[in-house]
């Protein structure tokens, strides 16, 4: 079964991925996605009824610890990596008018 990715779908994938694509990139992305999905579809040949999905290979459970701060104040170094900072905080573009 050949997958067809519509303009709406690729638009939606762009929103989910937070990526901006121009017209040519959208066409390429549709083609790449269709090709990969056609390939992935072969998983459908396998009968997986009753199989538990395996998210983790080892039987691990959550390990809890006390909520105690162990790292020191590294604000200066952390902010040194920020594209923009002001008064010891990250600067983000205006989100509300």
């Amino acid at each position: 079964m050949a997958n067809v990715i519509t303009d709406e779908t690729i638009e939606y994938v762009g929103i989910l991925s937070k990526l901006e694509l121009d017209a040519a990139q959208k066409e390429q992305a549709k083609k790449d996605l269709e090709e990969m999905l056609d390939y992935i579809d072969q998983l459908g040949e396998l009968d997986t009824d009753g199989v538990e999905p395996m998210s983790h290979v080892h039987p691990l459970c959550n390990r809890f610890r006390e909520d105690v701060v162990t790292n020191g104040d590294d604000r200066e170094h952390i902010l040194a990596n920020a594209p923009e900072e002001k008064d010891g905080t990250f600067v983000v573009p205006r989100t509300f008018d």
Binding site: T9, Y12, V13, G14, L16, S17, K18, L19, E20, L21, A29, D32, L33, E35, M36, L37, Y39, I40, D41, Q42, L43, G44, E45, L46, T48, V51, E52, P53, M54, S55, H56, V57, H58, L60, N62, R63, R65, D74, H77, I78, A80, N81, A82, P83, E84, F90, V92, P93, R94, T95
Partner: protein, 485 residues
């Protein structure tokens, strides 16, 4: 024998004995880098002054008998997806082009405690997504055996740096073969440990349920020593496992008598280069001649590993790479209108093509309406693949096969067809899905003069049998080569 011809362990011994100073070792490596780096481009960042400063500090500790371990004073390369405090860490991406971490990855910290000298950060495929080191935003690495060919990937810079003697060993990471395949292409030894053995703290995540850090070395002895140094439980990584069997150097025993080795028939089908096939089968014959019990068997499900892998890895990647938003660190676009436009433009300009391709596929398979059909289905197939390995390890101690279908391809030959590049991962990828340990050891050279790798896979937590078999094979091959002069 010059300093650069020593293995890491040989160099460490000479340093402890006072025959070579740490500074001499570092200067030898730097001289080599200055001569060959222009051709091979193994490093994204390397720091001559910093390395010499480390060398003097470490020498003092060695002289004071504070550092007595086998790796003290040994110069190493670290793949550029592991954080290093105060040293640029780019993940080979433009989006992290100016990122200087405030903390060091746990595995790297263990090496520092053992007294290694960090020379620099090795080149890689961007965010470890690729099989050739050509998706790096900082230019491709070349294969030291023939610079017209790729070194493999994604840990291509790490493998090439070891092969080019631009370090004595390196750390890499392996999500679908990214240690073992470049090790094979560059003629060095590479080991991917059991999932959970090495802390992922400070490893910039790609596919979190698959990623493991491991060593790339000149021989199996170095590999065991490095693994022993970095394999420690860590409460900062919730998937890290406390193991009491990490005395890996104890497994450096030359003996395969009675070890049961299974060779999957399904690994020798269509697409496998005849020269690779012949070299791997010859290695199996040599192990049989030394007392191993070698049989062929059907592993099954081999063809399904790649589609399951790319679904799971890309799903995890799409989530992991959400953090690159142009706010806390890294690149931010210059012109934008509002927050969401800033996110989109930053990410579109900051990520390369392969990374964007995988983020989009990952976002799609996790999206409402497709989650069950793709992501959940892949997790179920993963369970079946794990079961197939469990069945195989009921009968065998080791599964033996090729690392990759071919030797290193030429530069520029792989990226035009992503799906074809993905198919090259067929023998390595299922090991990550099942969380198993796997090792790549050199087993020959093809008619083009490029190295061939032999892969051995063991059940979870059985690195010891893997190291013993690989060590024995390495000795057998050394003896054969000596006899052939």
């Amino acid at each position: 024998m010059g300093i650069l011809d020593c293995t890491a362990v040989e160099l460490g011994k000479k340093i402890q004995a006072g025959e070579v100073s740490v500074r001499e070792a570092v200067e030898a490596v730097i001289e080599q880098i200055e001569q060959t780096e222009g051709t091979y481009h193994c490093y994204i960042t390397w720091d001559k002054e910093g390395a010499l400063r480390q060398a003097d500090l470490i020498q003092k500790k060695i002289d004071a008998k504070e550092l007595t371990g086998p790796l003290a004073g040994v110069p190493v390369a670290i793949k550029d997806n592991m954080t290093t405090e105060g040293m640029l860490t780019t993940c080979a991406s433009k989006i992290l082009g100016n990122f200087v971490p405030t903390y060091t990855a746990e595995a790297v910290r263990h090496l520092q405690e053992a007294g290694v000298v960090i020379i620099g950060k090795a080149n890689m495929d961007e965010f470890a997504m690729g099989s050739t080191t050509e998706t790096s935003a900082y230019g491709a690495t070349k294969n030291p055996w023939n610079p017209e060919h790729v070194p493999g990937g994604s840990s291509g810079g790490s493998a090439a740096a070891v092969a080019a003697k631009e370090c004595f060993f390196a750390l890499g990471s392996d999500t679908g073969g990214s240690i073992r395949q470049p090790a094979a292409f560059c003629g060095v030894v590479g080991l991917k440990p059991t999932y959970g053995t090495v802390s992922r703290y400070g490893l910039i995540a790609y596919g979190s349920s698959l990623d493991q850090i491991g060593p790339l070395c000149k021989d199996v002895t170095d590999t065991a020593v490095v693994l022993e140094t970095i394999a420690k439980a860590d409460e900062k990584d919730s998937t890290s496992i406390l193991r009491n069997d990490t005395n890996f150097t104890a497994a450096l025993i030359e003996d395969v008598e009675g070890i049961k080795i299974g060779i999957p028939r399904d690994y020798f089908g269509e697409g496998l280069d005849p020269e690779v096939s012949a070299a791997v089968k010859k290695a199996a014959d040599e192990l049989r001649a030394h007392g191993a019990i070698v049989e062929e068997f059907d592993l099954s499900l081999v063809d399904y590993a790649i589609p399951a892998y790319y679904t799971i890895a890309d799903a995890e990647a799409s989530s992991n790479l959400e953090r690159f938003d142009g706010i806390k660190y890294g690149y931010r676009t210059t012109e934008y209108e509002g927050l969401h436009n800033m996110y989109k433009k930053t990410r579109s300009e900051g990520f390369g093509e392969e990374v964007k391709r995988r983020i989009m596929l990952g976002s799609f398979v996790l999206s409402s309406g497709y989650y069950d059909a793709y992501y959940l289905k892949a997790l179920k197939v993963k369970a079946l693949i794990k079961q197939a390995f469990d069945d195989a390890f009921e009968k065998y101690d080791i599964i033996l096969g090729p690392v990759a279908p071919t030797t290193a391809p030429k530069l520029g030959a792989s990226l035009s067809d992503p799906l074809k590049m993905y198919l090259g991962d067929i023998y390595t990828i299922s090991v990550n899905l099942a969380g198993l340990p796997g090792i790549s050891v050199p087993c020959g050279v093809d008619s083009k003069g490029l190295p061939i790798g032999l892969q051995m896979i063991a059940d979870c937590f059985n690195e010891n049998v893997l190291i013993q078999a690989a060590y024995t094979y390495e000795k057998i091959r050394e003896q054969l080569q000596e006899r052939q002069g």
